[in-house]
């Protein structure tokens, strides 16, 4: 489908000029410039090249000790140039969007290839983009007073919950990322991606010096008015304070293998660590994932269907287009227990001969894109969450987590519970201290015996790190029961029944 240089020149007039065209307006960028940059990128014989322009404005506010101690704003802009030749990738970037700097970056990236300039540029095809998060932010400055109000209200609400709440930190951060992706395969995509988050952390202390901490937050690709609705500062403050107070009475967590029930929502971090990363196509192309070669095989119980969905409106992990200009998708990873496929970017799709699922993401123009998750969650089942709790004789009910990590190659993953309870004879009893749960990705979901009807997505706090690149993601899960998982507590005698 290579249409050649001439048709590129012709087709560019078909681009919908009603688009925002941020970089054309702000940097005087022209289509002729883009042609020159791509030609320079392919001048040493590369097969594919792309340009990623990024202009990011951000604001961050933090209240501590009831004072607005920190306020910052910033702008970063740049362009990354990638050239692919076979399995080789050359990459260079510039934070100066002048033509000679971009050309210099393009020629640097081009050096990965060695051969005569050969690949013509095809005509651009602007992808049919969705509008999952229509940007309504008028400007960063206009709303600063309202943003200050958010953090001050959060501080006040958290302190008002309980006299034992001694320290409160509330922070608000937002950004607006304008991107333009242009590639030698004809890709042309622009997007404006807002991202906002409000966070509250509390420390509770008793007179005897027992302390506890709580954390809550949320947001998404939303405008400021989001935080003046149901998910207001008081909502997050109440939740953070509740967790901190709860911890004051927590007893030691048990140690060893036992039944574990996960509550709905953020505990979906299990899926992100246990299966999500292992299904990213790059690891499977290189056969370094414990999931390599398992497509079509049973990797979970029949009750488990897991998807990655970048098309949910307003969600933190959603994108109209990924960072390679490809529209995001709703991809089924595991269907009724059977592994269906991987999450792919352009490079892995081409090298593996699979479809590009629109999961090519990067932290910024300084980074090479790679397969990443968007919003990863398990579809609801039929079980009543109360029945799930009642079915457990001795176990742990974990409802909040700090985060997790996975070793892709051996499949071992952890996720650390920050709020959890003992289940004894079908009843939720005492809160327990934070404990790490550890398991094996390719088989943990085979031990899921019950799946609740209460799917919930997280509040919008997740940031995923891979190869030093951080990207916002979402997770979700209904209440589920895992028949056997190792809990990393310290309790010895009183939890004797847990230690087989």
């Amino acid at each position: 489908m290579l249409l050649g240089w001439e048709s590129f020149q012709f087709q560019r007039h078909q681009i919908n000029v009603s688009k925002e065209q941020f970089f054309f307006q702000h940097y005087g960028l022209t289509h002729k410039d883009l042609e020159r940059y791509l030609a320079a990128a392919l001048s040493a014989g590369g097969e594919y090249a792309d340009l990623y322009f990024e202009y990011l404005t951000s604001t961050a506010l933090m209240v501590d000790e009831s004072m607005l101690k920190s306020a910052s704003q910033g702008i970063s802009a740049g362009c990354g140039v990638r050239v692919v030749a076979g399995e080789r990738t050359g990459y260079a970037y510039t934070d100066d969007l002048s033509p000679q700097r971009i050309l210099h970056a393009a020629r640097t990236a081009a050096l990965i290839a060695s051969g005569p300039a050969k690949t013509p540029v095809v005509g651009y095809q602007e992808k049919q983009a969705r509008s999952l998060y229509p940007v309504t932010l008028p400007s960063v400055d206009a709303e600063i007073t309202a943003k200050v109000e958010l953090v001050m209200r959060a501080d006040k609400a958290a302190r008002a919950r309980d006299p034992r709440i001694k320290e409160v930190r509330a922070s608000y951060s937002d950004e607006l990322r304008n991107i333009l992706v242009v590639a030698s395969d004809g890709t042309f995509a622009e997007d404006s991606q807002p991202l906002a988050r409000l966070n509250v952390s509390c420390i509770a202390k008793t007179k005897d010096g027992v302390s506890g901490r709580g954390n809550a937050g949320g947001g998404g690709r939303v405008a400021l008015d989001f935080f003046f609705g149901e998910k207001n500062p008081e909502h997050f403050a109440k939740e953070a304070a509740r967790q901190a107070i709860l911890q004051l009475d927590a007893r030691e967590a048990p140690a060893g293998e036992m039944e574990v029930v996960l509550g709905p929502g953020w505990p979906g971090v299990l899926l992100h660590e246990a299966v999500g990363h292992g299904l990213e196509a790059d690891f499977n192309r290189k056969k370094t994932s414990a999931f390599a070669g398992l497509v079509g095989r049973r990797v979970a119980s029949e009750k488990c269907t897991v998807v990655d969905n970048g098309t949910l409106p307003w969600r933190r992990g959603s994108l109209n287009v990924d960072d390679e200009g490809e529209p995001t998708q709703h991809t089924t990873l595991i269907e009724k227990g059977t592994l269906k496929g991987y999450l792919s970017d352009k490079l892995s799709a081409r090298l593996m001969g699979i479809a590009d699922t629109g999961n090519g993401r990067r932290e910024s123009y300084e980074h090479i894109p790679m397969p990443r998750m968007t919003n990863t969650y398990m579809l609801p089942g039929d079980d009543d969450p109360q029945d799930i709790i009642r079915s457990v004789k001795h176990g742990v009910y974990a409802v909040n987590f700090g985060g997790g990590q996975v070793d892709i190659t051996n499949g071992k993953f952890v996720f650390s519970a920050s709020e959890a309870y003992l289940i004894e004879d079908g009843q939720i009893t005492a809160p327990i201290k934070g404990a790490t749960l550890i398991g094996n990705g390719p088989d943990v979901l085979t031990r899921v015996s019950m799946v609740g009807n209460d799917l919930r997505l997280d509040e919008g706090v997740g940031t995923c790190g891979k190869d030093g690149q951080a990207v916002p993601v979402g997770v979700g899960i209904p209440t589920i029961k895992i028949d056997r998982l190792t809990v990393g507590g310290t309790a010895k005698k009183e939890a004797g029944s847990f230690m087989q």
Binding site: A60, M62, M67, K69, S70, S72, Q73, G74, I75, S76, G78, E87, R88, T89, G90, Y91, A92, Y93, T94, D95, S98, P99, Q100, L103, A105, T108, I112, D141, T145, V148, K166, E167, I203, R213, Q247, A253, A255, G256, K286, T288, I368, Q405, D407, T409, N410, K412, V414, F415, K433, G434, A435, T436, I438, T486, V487, G488, G489, T490, M499, Q500
Partner: protein, 462 residues
């Protein structure tokens, strides 16, 4: 301007970053600020990744950015930008001045006193141009040799995440309204290998090893890095779970580092004044066994945590954090020192935006006299941890629970590999229970710890 005139300009346009930083401070003061501080950071990076003998990625770039922090009396705000045009800088300064109007007056806010400012004299041995001296092909060859040494080491090493060679230089300038203008350059290069081993039953294991140095001439041979990476990987094959038990645990230096890091976070002034640390209020008290002495030293020539001044322009120094188990000092910047009624320890770390945080100099646990083998030999049944997974540490309460893998110790020797287990306890007790310290202190970053043995922790497994 036409394209041709733009093309004629040198892409390596040299600008005096000190002058730019001082100019930003002047503009902020002219705009009504009562104090101001500007930071400029410029850097270059190169990285090559070779996988199964073939180049996989090559990356080469440079960037620079500027940030400013302004005070109106005791209200502060900061802005940053990568736009060094006149308009870009004016806009950044103006935004900071505007933003400072919404923040609260904080009686402890401000930049350091003039008498506190300064820069260590002499050459701190931080910058070597030789990190970029190799031609491109030889840099790639470095990565290739590291990976090849790993692949050749053992037939069970059948795959790889690759070998890599990285180089970077950084140039940092800081200026403030007390007239301080300082700058320094640092260089860095590293070689690493990440091999994957496979056993007959198909189970895979991955591990890594690396060498890092400020000068290419000090980098360990690529072959040695690859060989150690391979040894670390192969010994994990066939790992199984361990039984839930309380046994002595030996931490190899890489994982022991993370425990030392928890002390760092615990003495971090920002956590201390908020009571968010399990070590808050413990100054002068015994918080660890007699054998525990922890030092932070930002002045060590050539160190990975060395700089002539900290993120606020205060000369770095050597601070004894813990001496024979007694907490002697927190690690502080100007703000947290004022909050606690103490003096800064010159540990301010400054990003482009926001208020300064706290960062380590060269931060380490004083080594003991036993070799790691001697420490292991003293244990009947125990665990040797070589890797942690996850971040299950609560610094407010000290509760500690992490995923782990390593080797089982039996009869004083390393026996079979173990994985999918947890290690749990509480930091407050752990530092009293460090029963052995190795003699193998080695800096592979700003923090370093020898092999240590800790008793009383719970291993969670089967």
């Amino acid at each position: 301007m036409t394209d041709s005139t733009l093309e004629a300009q040198s892409p390596k346009l040299e600008t005096d970053l000190k002058e730019i930083a001082a100019d930003v401070v002047r503009r902020a003061m002219a705009g009504g600020a009562t104090a101001a501080e500007a930071v400029v950071r410029e850097g270059d990076e190169f990285s090559a990744l070779v996988r199964l003998g073939q180049i996989e990625t090559l990356k080469e770039s440079g960037s620079k950015a500027i940030g400013v922090r302004v005070f109106f009396g005791q209200s502060a705000a900061s802005t940053y930008s990568s736009d060094f045009s006149r308009e870009g800088i004016e806009c950044m300064v103006k935004s900071a001045l505007e933003l400072a109007k919404v923040t609260s007056e904080d009686p402890y806010g401000g930049i350091p006193e003039p008498s506190q400012l300064g820069s260590l004299p002499g050459d701190l041995d931080l910058y070597y141009e030789d990190v970029y001296s190799l031609p491109g092909a030889e840099r790639i060859d470095y990565a290739r040799r590291a990976e090849k040494a790993a692949l050749d080491f053992d037939p069970r090493i059948k795959n790889s995440e690759g070998g890599s060679f990285d180089a970077a230089t950084g140039h940092k300038v800081l200026a403030n309204s007390h007239g301080f203008v300082g700058e320094y350059r640092r260089s860095y290069c590293s070689v690493a290998a990440v091999p994957i081993a496979q056993s007959e039953d198909g189970g895979m294991q991955r591990d890594y090893w690396f060498s890092v140095a400020r000068s290419l001439s000090r980098l360990e041979p690529a072959e040695q890095v690859g060989k150690i990476a391979a040894q670390r990987t192969v010994r994990r094959l066939g790992a199984r779970k361990a039984k839930t038990a309380q046994v002595p645990i030996v931490f190899d230096p890489m994982v022991a580092n993370s425990i030392l890091d928890h002390i760092f976070e615990g003495v971090n002034g920002d956590s201390v004044y908020r009571g968010a640390s399990f070590l808050a209020g413990k100054l002068g008290q015994k918080i660890a066994g007699d054998n525990v002495t922890v030092i932070d030293d930002g002045t060590m020539p050539g160190g990975f945590g060395t700089s002539p001044f900290d993120g606020e322009g205060v000369p770095t120094r050597r601070t004894v954090v813990i001496e024979n188990g007694v907490l002697k000092s927190y690690l502080l910047n100007t703000y947290t020192a004022k909050k606690l009624g103490l003096q800064t320890t010159a540990n301010a770390s400054r990003g482009l935006a926001g208020t300064p945080g706290i960062g380590p100099g060269n931060y380490f646990l004083q080594p003991g006299t036993k070799t790691p083998q001697q420490i292991i030999a003293g244990i009947g049944e125990g665990l040797y941890v070589t890797e942690f997974l996850g971040h299950g540490v609560n610094l407010v309460t000290g509760d500690y629970s992490r995923g782990a893998s390593g080797l089982w110790i039996s009869g004083g020797e390393l026996t079979f590999p173990v994985e999918e287990i947890t290690v749990a306890g509480n930091l407050k007790q752990m530092f009293f229970n460090i029963s052995e310290l190795g003699n193998d202190l080695e800096f592979r970053g700003a923090m370093a710890c020898p092999t240590i043995r800790i008793d009383g922790l719970t291993v969670g497994g089967e």
